[in-house]
Amino acid sequence: MSETPELLIASLYPRDMNIYGDRGNVLSLARRVRAQGFAPRVVDVNPGDPLPDEIDIVIGGGGQDSGQNRVAKDLAQRADSIRALAADGTPMLMVCGLYQLFGHRFVTHTGDELVGIGVLDVETRGGAERMIGNIVLDSEEFGEIIGYENHSGDTTLGSGSRPLGKVKQGAGNNPRDGVEGARSGNVIGTYLHGSLLPKNPALSDFLIGEAATRRYGSFTPIAGANETVLLARESAKRRPR
């Protein structure tokens, strides 16, 4: 009897960090994992919960400032484990709030400082400008990435991270640099939600490919993009900010 190989997805703080449909990313990733021939197992990790033993992919979303305070404390306590997973090549996708906390620090608009875990070489300040709207990026590795941004955090990249993509339409990390998101190793941070993965299967496939290669030695994709995805991408691209 051949069993479907499993991939374990750790969903970070779904209770506090799930404000803009971030749950859609987990749903979509699990579906894509199945389409690529694996059995997804999603484990929620809320404050105080243990991290599962064999994590293949880590995924996290965004929340309000109040939720961010709660999870920052919890995240600090497991910083070493997460840094070790990242150093070992575990693929991760952190959206919005957790993108900020995966950086060095987040200074809120009231001047409070939240210390991040420094997996990504980025720093964020609460900005005066709220960056909202449909956004399109160009990325060498993933092609066109399409999402919706909604953040006032103004993020700058250090030399240890490279951007996820160049902004073709929208704001991105901040109103100045013309880039969006950050990557260090197999860790991706981004402000794109909307939700991100349903319309960007190339990103899901990156996470799945890295995870499968780490755990099973190789990855051969069996699913391509479907028509609904392509049409949803096209329609989102045409919409105004």
């Binding site: 779904p14 987990v26 939700s195 049409l231």
Partner: protein
């Protein structure tokens, strides 16, 4: 004299604007420029003062309930219909309805306040009573974070002089109630409307959505609120008021409207139990029994597009407005999908909110058994993609609403129909439907 001048000016502008086919807010704009105190003076002269209704969802229908219940008690009510809830719209309506001496022929004003524009209003007029419904997550692209919206609602509560009604089951609104009670300088009295423990899981809050779960922790029985919704049925509900249960039929559609009916009951109780403001003859009997109020509530019909039922091809067609995950989820839970052809129309115009992320927080699996006939709107493909993730089969996708409506009608000729739609999609569909069947004027 000033009132006379402003009233006449406003009425003249209105006449001229009408002759030129102009907008309804223009007289409001002109009067406001010439006489910024006009609205405050006119409204504060009303014997029962001003009732403000705010919150992110359900304002229009709840305002309608309050207005009609007060009217059933014999009060003349000034209100802002059709959601023209900005001050200029209110001033324009006041200009239109007042006499040339600037007297409004009304006993009480019940005004729906958009949480973003309410600040402008409360700087000029202090509500005597305020009802705060909820802080749900739609339109966050316009107002930023939920906490910001809650702060705006707090300021309406702070401006309220005599009585505040809050939703006990909405954490942020309940906290506003607590803070108002704790106010040191002449706090208004605070009442709550709420749910029995048994019904809590039927109305998951936004906090519950963050968890992506529907279960609500079991908690100890709590004391009754001023008005508690304790039982729900098909167009039927039981409200507990003063320890007594009132079972009633309802013409309103949807579970949220039934919960908001508890809010309206509590607000009307507060208004009718209050004395007439000083300087007014108490010409109205304020003795109103709970029985009377519930009877008046039973007569209220839904506001346009809020669970409205039309007849098309001899069969019912429900229009269900959806604006956020909680509302969509409740809409899906409120109406049995069996044997009904379903269309979903999602627009992302400014008035709908541009951000479509929230579709991912709605669970559509209840539609999987029979599928969705037609998906439409500017974000039709986002919706189709969302349904695909819950394994809901989609018959056809037409971004164009009239094409979609035509296709939907043809494929569902012998079935009752239901359309879930966002705000601007609703407006466009009503217009199309008006050519096919009888559609009531906007309330």
């Amino acid at each position: 004299m000033r009132d006379f001048f402003s009233a006449v000016t406003g009425k003249t502008v209105r006449q001229v604007a009408r002759l030129r086919g102009g907008g309804s807010a223009l007289p409001g704009l002109v009067v406001e420029r010439l006489d910024p105190g006009f609205l405050a003076r006119v409204l504060q002269r009303l014997p029962y003062g001003v009732v403000a209704v705010s919150g992110t969802n359900g304002k229009t229908t709840t305002t309608k309930m309050i207005v009609e219940m007060l009217e059933a008690r014999g009060l003349r009510v000034f209100t802002n219909r059709t959601g023209s809830n900005f001050s200029r719209g209110v001033i324009a309506a006041a200009v239109q309805e007042c006499s040339i001496t600037g007297k409004l022929d009304a006993d009480v004003a019940v005004l729906e306040l958009d949480e973003a524009h309410a600040m402008y209003f409360i700087e000029r007029v202090k509500p005597r009573f305020t009802l705060l419904l909820n802080v749900l997550r739609d339109q966050l692209d316009r107002f930023g974070e939920i906490d910001t919206t809650a702060k705006l609602l707090q300021r309406i509560a702070d401006a309220t002089t005599e009585g505040l009604v809050v939703n006990r089951e909405d954490r942020l609104i309940a906290e506003i109630g607590e803070r108002t009670r704790a106010r040191t300088v002449s706090p208004p009295s605070v009442r709550e409307f709420g749910l029995s423990n048994a019904l809590l899981s039927t109305f998951p809050s936004d906090d519950d959505f963050h968890a992506g779960a529907t279960e609500v922790a079991d908690s100890e029985e709590r004391p009754d609120a001023d008005v508690t919704l304790i039982e729900l049925g098909d167009h039927e509900a039981v409200f507990r008021i003063d320890g007594q249960d009132f079972r009633t039929e309802l013409k309103l559609e949807g579970l949220y409207n039934t919960f908001n009916a508890a809010a309206a009951l509590s607000t009307v109780r507060m208004v009718t139990q209050a004395p007439v403001l000083p300087g007014h003859p108490s010409k109205y009997s304020t003795e109103t029994t709970n029985e009377d109020l519930v009877q008046a509530l039973a007569q209220v019909r839904p506001a346009f597009g809020r669970g409205e039922q039309l007849i098309l091809d001899g069969l019912p067609l429900d229009l269900v407005l959806v604006k956020n995950p909680a509302g969509f989820r409740l809409g899906l839970a409120s109406f049995d999908p069996t044997g009904v052809a379903v269309m979903i129309a999602i627009n992302d115009q400014y008035a709908d909110g541009r951000d479509m992320s929230w579709l991912w927080d709605v669970d559509f699996t209840s539609l999987a058994a029979q599928g969705v006939s037609t998906v439409s709107g500017t974000r039709a493909w986002d919706m189709a993609l969302r349904l695909e993730h819950d394994d809901v089969e989609v018959g056809a996708v037409h971004e164009n609403l009239s094409e979609a409506l035509r296709a939907f009608r043809e494929t569902s000729l012998n079935q009752p129909r239901r359309i879930y739609c966002t705000y601007t999609a609703m407006l466009a569909l009503r217009k199309e439907l008006a050519e096919l069947t009888e559609v009531e004027n906007v309330w």
